[in-house]
């Protein structure tokens, strides 16, 4: 009898355990088991309503404006019938006030949102406010001068549809906010001064060393008169007895790039294919009827690289740039900076003058940035840094975009900015009166 009583006691204990376990093991309601992600639905609804900035505009309108009715109609129309909502707009306060947000307007289609709801917030900015973006200046710690070749006494080539001067103007608008000093080189005389290491402006920020020089003349480069045949520095610009004697000038450019640690930029085509001076070469043309220039052919870039690497000058017409049969694509790094700097050139381009990667070993170069992805052994666009073997210091750089004409100078700007990576400091979005916070709370009705 005792054992039976013990068993009954055990049953009572287990029953108690079951009741207690059932009491604590509360199973969720079916709706919570497989819920809609209301937070995401709310966010995507707000984004849809703000597709044409209608929500942003309405958020700043008076509370009795009819635009609020349109928002309510749109909200009701785009949400499923079993979803109830409450949309509230708050004014964002700044400073040390006690209230950070002040409620401005609320619209809803139900008195309560049921037992379960979720919300998303969306910050909208007033169209009446301009948010400033202040770029970091390249060269705040040395260098920082941008020279844009705008020489009035030179002609360009392979910049079809543009003039060097119009490109220079556009580049100035695009890039001057990023540099301590941006200086237009107005003629070949001023270019000659820079080549001598002399400043050409009164700007206290001008610094010839570590400067960036953009050659807006395409495949052609301006040549100062003194470097031409029969003038004072002929030996640095003219090498007689060869097919294209002005390749010697390109060697000098390479030397100066190394000595002053410049970043030389070729915006399109075969770099340094012609030299131009409309005064000295007034009666000579590039064989295509453009007067004021002389061909230096394929040897120009070879001579430049020799000068950059401090090799002895050796005349060479060896071809080092070739055409790529397929479209070339922006590198992932350059694509990233498209968004950062708000520059959106086409990501696919045609490259007919891509440099062979053999130059990297031949001239002690390293690739600091691919603007375009390399295709085989050809590099459509990149920044090459020169560092002497065994050294660590950069002694000159070259940004060469071997694309076909006509040039898109946004690619030049993108390459340059992707290389230097100046930061952008954006103004605060929480300044008083500039922003409103929209919160959309959604709940589900029906069911349990």
């Amino acid at each position: 009898m005792m054992r039976t009583i013990e068993v009954l006691l055990v049953i009572i204990i287990i029953t108690g355990a079951f009741i207690i376990a059932s009491f604590f093991a509360v199973l969720p309601m079916p709706r919570r088991v497989s819920p809609l992600n209301l937070r995401r639905l709310a966010l995507t609804t707000l984004q849809t309503l703000d597709l044409d900035y209608h929500l942003s505009e309405t958020a700043f309108k008076p509370t009795d404006d009819e635009a609020w009715d349109q928002i309510q109609v749109a909200l009701s129309a785009c949400l499923p019938p079993n979803i109830v909502y409450n949309l509230t707009v708050y004014e964002v306060q700044s400073g040390s006030g006690t209230e950070l947000y002040i409620r401005m307007k609320s619209i809803s289609n139900a008195e309560s949102l049921g037992i379960q709801s979720d919300a998303s917030s969306y910050l909208v900015a007033s169209s009446n406010v301009t948010f400033r973006v202040i770029p970091e200046k390249i060269g705040e710690h040395g260098g920082g001068t941008l020279y844009i070749l705008n020489c009035s006494d030179a002609n360009g080539w392979w910049i079809t549809g543009y003039t060097a001067q119009s490109l220079a103007e556009d580049l100035y608008k695009l890039l001057s906010p990023y540099f301590q000093a941006t200086i237009m080189v107005q003629n070949t005389t001023q270019l000659g001064q820079i080549l001598n290491g002399t400043k050409i402006s009164d700007s206290p920020y001008e610094n010839v060393t570590k400067a960036v020089i953009i050659n807006t003349f395409g495949e052609c480069v301006p040549i100062p008169t003194e470097y031409c045949q029969g003038y004072g520095r002929e030996s640095e610009g003219y090498y007689p007895g060869v097919n294209y004697p002005y390749t010697r000038y390109c060697y000098t450019l390479g030397q100066r790039t190394r000595v002053y640690n410049w970043t030389w930029i070729s915006i399109v085509g075969y770099p340094l294919y012609y030299v131009s001076n409309t005064v000295v070469f007034a009666n000579e043309n590039n064989t295509y009827g453009i007067y004021g220039m002389r061909k230096v052919y394929q040897g120009g870039i070879n001579a430049f690289l020799q000068g950059l690497d401090n090799q002895p000058y050796q005349y060479s017409e060896t071809r080092i740039a070739y055409s790529i049969s397929q479209l070339v694509q922006l590198s992932s790094e350059a694509s990233y900076y498209c968004n950062y700097y708000g520059l959106y050139p086409s990501p696919n381009q045609i490259s007919s003058r891509a440099l062979n990667d053999s130059i990297v070993n031949n001239y002690n170069l390293s690739i600091a940035l691919y603007v375009f992805n390399q295709v085989g052994n050809l590099i459509p666009g990149a920044v090459y840094r020169h560092i002497f073997k065994g050294g660590t210091n950069v002694t000159g750089s070259l940004l060469a975009l071997g694309l076909t004409r006509t040039p898109d100078i946004r690619l030049t700007a993108l390459g340059l900015l992707s290389y230097y990576k100046p930061r952008l400091y954006r103004s605060e979005y929480t300044a008083a009166g500039t922003s409103r916070l929209v919160i959309l709370q959604l709940g589900q009705t029906g069911g349990i």
């Binding site: 088991v33 819920p35 849809t48």
Partner: protein, 408 residues
């Protein structure tokens, strides 16, 4: 002794019986809890998978505009962020409910989205992404099944009230409410089948706008247009507070023979123009002439014509049967638009067919994946998405291939 034995037997029997009962009770509670957890997990997986599809463009990012099979599945428009989908990636999804179309002259089957006469999108099977490929790329092959539906939020339905003069009623509805006081911009394309035998049809375009009433409807009257005599198509865009929807209605004079456009190649944007008899059969086929035009939707909701690259295929004649080749044209852009092809047999027998270039330009829906009907437990989640400025709702239904059977 006997009493003790009986006591022992009774107690053991009662104890075993009680244990069995309690095991059953606890088991039921535990199984229900496990089931709830699995369902919860499925709902979370559903939400994650939907975001995974909608918030990445796939690899390569422009796969929707090419013939390549992606190595990563995603539907986001690579030119935007957030929930904006590529109208071309959606075009390359195999439309599950559509009955495949076979075109003998290319020897290919085509995925078929048809929204009524003359409104179809036919994409070759060798260029669409099928369900198993997508499931494999998403990493759910063999573990989960899914069905993705992307439907326009705003439904613009057009009803013909009378033909002469033409009067149409446009009803604009959202998912849960009519779109009252919405702007409706419309474009009436009228086929001009003028000229003698063999002449090519032309068309005229008239624009207008109106406001829906408190029931989301608006009456459009075209006093100088006789719908009994001429073929026409009306395309209407309704817009309110960021919500944009598209609707269309057409009335053709002749359906005996017509043109059927097929997307042939995404890389080269080539579209084939076939004779309807070669595709759908029919009685009394005849040679027809056609005139193809590509139109883009502008920001002010008017249509702008873009010249077709292949001027030789822009107009032409097309016949049926063996030895009669199809025509082809090249769409000039990757911007979404509508290919409008007017056709005629004679001055009285004409019509017009439309094909969207980019799924959104005619607000075509997308249904991709398996049919969830009959599955044990299906979790769903929804997002509002934008496809080239047209508001859509993306809904994913997900179920697990693991068993959910519960004993007890």
């Amino acid at each position: 002794m006997a009493g003790s034995t009986i006591d022992h037997l009774v107690s053991v029997t009662v104890f075993l019986g009680a244990i069995l009962v309690f095991i059953s009770l606890f088991n039921q509670t535990l199984q229900t809890a496990i089931l709830y957890q699995r369902h919860r997990n499925l709902a979370t997986k559903c939400s994650d998978l939907l975001d995974n599809m909608l918030l990445n463009p796939g690899t390569p990012s422009y796969w929707g505009r090419s013939n390549v099979t992606p190595t990563g599945f995603g539907l986001q428009d690579p030119e935007f962020t957030q929930y904006r989908l590529s109208p071309f990636s959606l075009m390359r999804l195999n439309y599950t409910p559509g009955k495949p179309v076979f075109y003998p002259k290319t020897g290919k089957y085509y995925s078929n989205i048809t929204m009524g006469f003359g409104k179809s999108l036919l994409v070759p099977f060798n260029e669409v992404i099928n369900y198993s490929t997508a499931a494999r790329l998403l990493g759910v092959n063999g573990t989960y099944g899914f069905s993705l539906t992307i439907t326009p939020i705003v439904t613009v339905s057009i009803t013909e009230l009378q033909l002469n003069p033409l009067q149409l009623r446009v009803d604009v509805r959202g998912a849960g409410f009519p779109l009252i006081y919405a702007n409706v911009s419309h474009c009436l394309i009228t086929v001009k089948a003028t000229g003698g035998q063999g002449a090519y049809p032309s068309y005229t375009v008239d624009y207008g706008s109106a406001l829906t009433d408190s029931e989301g409807s608006v009456l459009l009257t075209f006093p100088s247009f006789d719908g009994e005599e001429e073929s026409y198509v009306l395309i209407a865009y309704a817009h309110l507070s960021g919500l944009v929807g598209v609707g269309y209605h057409e009335h053709v004079q002749y359906t005996g023979s017509y043109v059927v456009p097929f997307v042939e190649d995404f890389d080269t944007r080539r579209v084939l123009i076939a004779h309807s008899w070669d595709v759908h059969g029919g009685d009394n086929p005849a040679e027809i002439s056609y005139n193809a035009t590509f139109v883009l939707l502008t920001e002010d909701f008017t249509l702008r014509e873009m010249p077709l690259e292949n001027s030789t295929g822009k107009v032409g004649k097309i016949n049926y049967g063996v030895g009669k080749p199809y025509q082809n044209i090249t769409i000039p852009t990757y911007n979404p638009g509508i290919l409008v092809i007017t056709y005629r047999k004679s001055a009285q027998e004409s019509g017009v067919v439309l094909m969207p270039w980019g799924i959104s330009s005619m607000a075509f829906p997308v249904t991709f994946g398996e049919d969830p009907f009959g599955k044990v437990w299906v979790a769903t989640d929804i997002r509002q998405v934008i496809v080239n400025n047209i508001a859509y709702q993306a809904k994913l239904a997900l179920w697990s291939f693991e068993g959910y059977q519960v004993i007890g």
